[in-house]
Amino acid sequence: MKFLTATFLTALLAFISGLFLPWWGIAITSLLVAVLVHQKAGKAFLAGMLGVFLLWAGLAWWIDMKNNGVLSKKVAAVLPLGGNALLLILLTGIVGGLVAGFAAMSGSFLRATDK
């Protein structure tokens, strides 16, 4: 339950940050969520990663669908992704997810008590 809450909150706050902050706002919000909803480092990483991965990949997928894939295949040919739009959507999720995951891990360690 905690894991799902953390994942959901990470995604929600990341979305709100995207409206006001630069792209790296997700690092701050993910860290914050991991502090508020405390889990062990590994789980926090996964929740942070998953939260933003789902948000970013999901948004990209949704936008791509409404766009009929007009842009994604072109950009996937400019980036070295062989014109594969799905890879671009995955890469979108992974870039956001990695940053959020590590930020969440920091948040977890920040609140963890020394053994």
């Binding site: 979305f15 995207g18 409206l19 630069p22 792209w23 790296w24 690092a27 860290l31 480092a41 948000l55 970013w56 948004l59 990209a60 936008i63 791509d64 409404k66 766009n67 009929n68 007009v70 842009l71 994604s72 295949k73 072109k74 950009v75 996937a76 040919a77 400019v78 980036l79 014109g83 890469l91 979108t92 870039v95 956001g96 990695l98 940053v99 590590f102 930020a103 891990m105 920091s106 360690f109 920040l110 609140r111 963890a112 008590t113 020394d114």
Partner: protein, 813 residues
Amino acid sequence: MRIIPFAISTIVTAGLVFAFNRPLGPLPMPLGKFISPQHGLWQNAEPSGQRFDGDLSFPELKGKAEVYLDERLVPHVFAENDEDLYFIQGYLHAKFRLFQMDLQTKAAEGRASEIAGKKAINFDKEQRRLGMVYAAENAMKEVDKDPQSKAMFDAYTNGVNAYISSLKASEIPIEYKLLDITPEKWTNIRTALLLKMMAKMLSSGTENDLANTNAKSVFIPDELKMMYPQVPDSLEPIVPKGTTFEKPGIVPIKPETADSLYFGKKETVTAHEISKPDINNGSNNWVVAGSKTQSGSPILCNDPHLELSLPSIWYEMQLRTPTSNVYGVSLPGSPFVIIGFNDSIAWGVTNAQRDVKDYYEIKFKDKTKEEYWFNGKWEKTTRKVETINVKGGKDVLDTVAYTVFGPVMFDESFSNDLSNKRNLAVRWVAHDASNEAVTFYKLNRAKNYDDYAAAISTFECPGQNFVFASKGGDIAIWQQGRFPARWDRQGLYIMPGEDSSYMWQGFIPQTENPHSKNPERGFLESANQRPVDSTYPYFIPGSYVTARGITIERKLAAMSGITPTDMMQLQNNYFNTTAEDVRSILLSYVKEPGLTTSEKKYLDLVKNWDLMGSPDSKGQTIYQCWMDSLMMGIWQDDLTRTKPISPWPSEQTTMELLKKDTAMKFIDDITTPEKETLYDVVTTALKKASVGLAKDEAAGKLEWTKFKNPTVYHLIKDLKGFARPGLKVGGAGNIVNAVTHSHGPSWRMIVQLSTPTEAYGVYPGGQSGNPGSKYYDDFLNNWVEGKYNKLWFMRDGDRTDKNVKWVMKFSKI
């Protein structure tokens, strides 16, 4: 808190943010910002159901205006006055084409290095040394003198900037995100720079003075006349043959020293231009009178040939006020419609191809370039220190000296090798103060022949063939520009610049520019050929193209009861007129007995070819390779007598020389002891071409369209993903449908001046510059197939018509 693990994961996080916030690898954009769905590329993915309605208000507007967008995203602007009209035109250009305007004017100004880095430094130096900014500044002086022009420029600039100011960072065009730069505010001089970019494109590459100077160092005058003739034998001039010309108003005098200091000088020059405009920059236009059409009304046609790009150079629109109403294509970066029609007339342009740029050799006193020898004393130069900002590098400083002729383009610090430090100043008509924009303001409002003639009479550079038709039934063409009156062969080569005797002595009076109105034959055409036959009383060098004019002339002469559909077919015609003559020479002189099976096969394909450069044609591919190989066989040994190489004679010239004399002297390969004949070179050419052709055939590339791979690139050629390669379209530079690998008809327009006006048009792109929009390239397939969009000339009563898809309302705050 667990300090060490916290520190490690925080460092990793910060490291990732840092890495994703700066360029990764060769691509300039930060990956994090670029890929974030709320900031980066995904924000440019326009939903397919995107609506373009809006209510917008700006303090600069005087009244109300509406923009009606049709299903092709063509805006029909209805404004109450001119200022509001051009404010909105600027706004729309920026909304749909901001990146291209910004990039093109930066490049024109010599600021490409700010975007592209080190590799563009020499390009930038050349733009500045050619005096592009100097030319634009001079043009602005004229614009500022005319309150009406200035008001239109101001309104346009305000409109562009109103849009830029409204942009959020996430909304900027994707190219900015890829390059990690931001849009720059518009200014009036950027409009002038854009027009000078066109001037360079069309009137800077039409001379070949530097290479000609090399040719002059080894070839005797008779040879030069053979290789680079002024009047081709097969010329069909723009002004119909048999037209008599007035006595010249100015007769320039050849300097007494010309034989020794000019013609007789045998020095070569190593300087060359880096970004010389494409020789294929040409166009077709023609007009047929009502006597030759089915409807009884004139039909006007135009297809300007330029480097094709996405976004396209053109943006289609209708501009209407209570006193004017015009439809056509505009150039993002400039107000007005450039090619189009209004309620009363239609007009189109092709390039005049005239040489309006010369070089003068300057003698500086010393390396400071502060003084130069002129008319017997040391004169002061004006020195301009150019600062080029280089992305990822230090600023580059470059000093350009300005003389009485113009800027010294080449000197020891630019484009010259150490053994040959010639200082060359450039004299170019584009430098002279003039207001070309006002011509379009007036043409947009012209009602008849007199209005048209008055509108174009002040147009100076680049020289254009303005074709015209009116609802009143008149047809006309003027080759308009400011053209120097030259003595025989003046300015074909670098001229002495130590005194005033070689300067231009004046200009051909405007009224003596080649023109024709309502000729008896009922049609007029121009296709970049020499405008007049040899009876014209001036020496007018240029880089003319003869073949397309012949094809069009023959077709139009034979036609009657013409409809717009006939004109569409002619614009898309694939007949290769040059090949018609060349093939008979090739077939008469090829020695068949010694040919291999595959050579014989290629020969047969040429024999049975229908002379059409159509997409599937194998004959066209083989013919062209054979011809290219023949050109090498005939000319290379001769041209490489100079270093750098002398200019290539044209295919047209080569064909005409061979038709006249099948034993002409250049056939012989001077590097061999044997005396080659036409039989030898034609046969060897086929054998050599066959080697490459066999490879192409093995790769499945023998069909013409596969061989030349027609492609419309993005303005930034490296962005291959934004390009459209492999277009199945035929044609060639000397064919009416002049599509080459990446160059060709950038807009095809047909206007029948009936009531109501019936107009058709298409360009290889789309109204939106956004690669993430379905309107980015939605006209392209039609263009490839030779199909047209019907141009909807919206009337006042059409505001609720079903063609209106979206409405943008503009008002004063």
